[in-house]
């Protein structure tokens, strides 16, 4: 695994590459993390997915959004726009330094919204897999509102399992929706049928290819000790699917 920073010292984005273990990769997969506590719960699962994809001949990248993980800044200083802009910079950097034929994005939960926005705003991504996605910014906000501490709900800065969700951030994502993008391949992998997946199906007129692989993953769950989630069947399902479809 190769960790590196993208960007200058004031705006470093922490990125990791798990290179192909088979051959020089012609295709790269970029993983888009979920938000807040879900990022912590998903970190090991993303590493596992990257490892599996590397064994199948893909270079796999992960990176921390600004204000998260080891990247620059604080969550209180970023918006959905900042996250998408920096993510596009990451994609551009990867595309510029490696001559891949195809770039595939896998976006988990909030990461599905970010990856979709990147696909919409730049020509870097060829394929997108939405993993247990939020259907829209409104769905993201509504779910987080149920998890925010009571004392923070009346303030601009919600506290969701110890992570800030500012009014600025909420405003910047509130109108965003996952919709079809012409000439782009978008698919969905879900661990259970839910309102988000049903909404996306409606928004795609029931044409979005969907894989269901249980059991249900409670991403937005927190216990007192900080347990993590490792949905092994679903991770294998995604890596197999990417391998077969490429």
């Amino acid at each position: 695994m190769k960790p590196f920073f993208i960007g200058d010292s004031a705006k470093q984005i922490y990125t990791t590459l798990v290179p192909s273990k088979k051959r020089a990769a012609t295709c790269a997969v970029i993983l888009f993390y979920p938000y807040g506590q879900e990022y912590m719960r998903a970190h090991k699962a993303f590493r596992q997915l990257a490892t599996q994809l590397s064994r199948k001949g893909f270079d796999t990248y992960r990176f921390d959004y600004p204000g998260t993980g080891d990247s620059y800044g604080e969550l209180t200083d970023v918006s959905f726009t900042t996250v998408v802009d920096d993510s596009i910079n990451v994609l551009s950097n990867i595309a510029a330094t490696q001559n891949y034929e195809r770039l595939i994005a896998v976006g988990l939960r909030f990461g599905a919204l970010v990856a979709h926005a990147c696909m919409k705003s730049s020509d870097k991504l060829d394929q997108l897999i939405l993993w247990d996605p939020f259907a829209s910014g409104k769905h993201f906000i509504d779910e987080n509102e149920t998890m925010a501490t009571a004392s923070s709900k009346d303030t601009d800065e919600w506290n969701v399992h110890g992570f800030e969700l500012t009014k600025c951030f909420r405003d910047s994502i509130s109108t965003y929706s996952i919709l079809p993008i012409s000439d782009k391949k978008i698919e969905m992998v879900i661990s259970f049928d839910n309102e988000n997946s049903e909404t996306i199906q409606k928004q795609f007129n029931n044409t979005i290819p969907t894989i269901l692989q249980g059991p249900k993953n409670d991403w937005n769950y927190v216990d007192m000790v900080g347990s993590i989630l490792m949905p092994t069947k679903l991770i294998s399902c995604i890596s197999e699917h990417i391998d077969q479809s490429s």
């Binding site: 059991p215 249900k216 900080g226």
Partner: protein, 282 residues
């Protein structure tokens, strides 16, 4: 007026085959006589820490002129699998000593404070016992052993709000219904990973603290409300290790309203400030 200190963050890969990964935060200029902080993983959480607390601490201390390494033990976060398995409940993690070597190689700094939450607290303690480069440890929710006063405090809390306690017992006995779930709890548990090792025998831990006290190692012991079923009054630390003379080396930071994963920003800041105070004493 004091000039703000410029800070830098660099990736540090170290250990055999550089298979351990961390981020070294610090000022842009190095004082090799200073003390560096190393933050140890809490259970399965990777090096950024619960609620990104390790990042906040590292950046705060860097602005104050101190280096901090947050890194992943073998098999956690971005570090490779490997390391030694040991049956010794108090075995020190070799990775932590390798982290000290790596910081010395990068900065020249030779003395360290170890900080950790939960299993990270215990790993800090076990390493401090065997590695005399450690001059201080900070443990959040480390070992806890009940004393007599613990039971009086517990009884007092029960008498104050008996309904709440009976409800807790009811929930433990019958469990909460798992709504909106088509899968069995057994199948779900296959995918939830939690790490909470057993405490070693108290005598072994007490001996360890004696070793640290004899070596003048400073100790910051933080306990949160989450572990109140094991630690429920401020000075329990003194009574559970009554055979240790801590001299003036021990600071208790009792935070009964804080959660184990420090979900409130003010709680995280309190811990960071206590660490800064400790580092300034070296």
């Amino acid at each position: 007026m004091t000039q703000p200190i410029n800070i830098q963050e660099n990736i540090l890969q170290f250990g055999i085959n550089d298979d351990l990964v961390g981020i070294l935060s610090g000022p842009t200029s190095v004082n090799s006589d200073s003390t560096a902080l190393i933050i140890i993983n809490a259970g399965l959480l990777h090096r950024t820490g619960a609620c990104r607390s390790a990042v906040s601490i590292a950046r705060k201390l860097a602005k104050e002129g101190y280096f901090t390494l947050r890194f992943d033990l073998h098999g956690v976060g971005d570090s490779a699998f490997g390391g030694d398995a040991s049956d010794d409940p108090m075995a020190a993690k070799k990775e932590i000593s390798q982290a000290m070597d790596a910081i010395t190689a990068a900065t020249g700094i030779k003395q360290f404070v170890l900080h950790g939450l939960c299993s990270g607290a215990r790993d800090s303690f076990y390493t401090a016992i065997v590695d005399d480069r450690v001059v201080g440890i900070s443990m959040i929710d480390g070992h806890a052993y009940r004393d007599k006063k613990f039971y009086f405090v517990m009884l007092g809390k029960f008498l104050q709000r008996p309904g709440r306690w009976l409800n807790a017992v009811k929930i433990r006995l019958f469990g909460k219904p798992d709504i909106n779930n088509d899968f069995s709890m057994e199948e779900k548990k296959l995918y939830e990973e939690t790490f909470w090792p057993e405490y070693p025998d108290k005598k072994l831990v007490e001996d360890g603290f004696n070793t640290l006290a004899n070596r003048q190692v400073k100790i910051l012991a933080t306990y949160t409300g989450t572990v109140s079923p094991e630690y429920n009054h401020e000075n329990q630390f003194y009574t559970m290790y009554s055979k240790v003379d801590f001299k003036k080396l021990l600071t208790i930071n009792y935070m009964p309203s804080a959660s184990h994963t420090m979900t409130i920003k003010a709680d995280r800041e309190q811990v960071a400030n206590k660490l800064l105070t400790m580092l300034k004493t070296f």
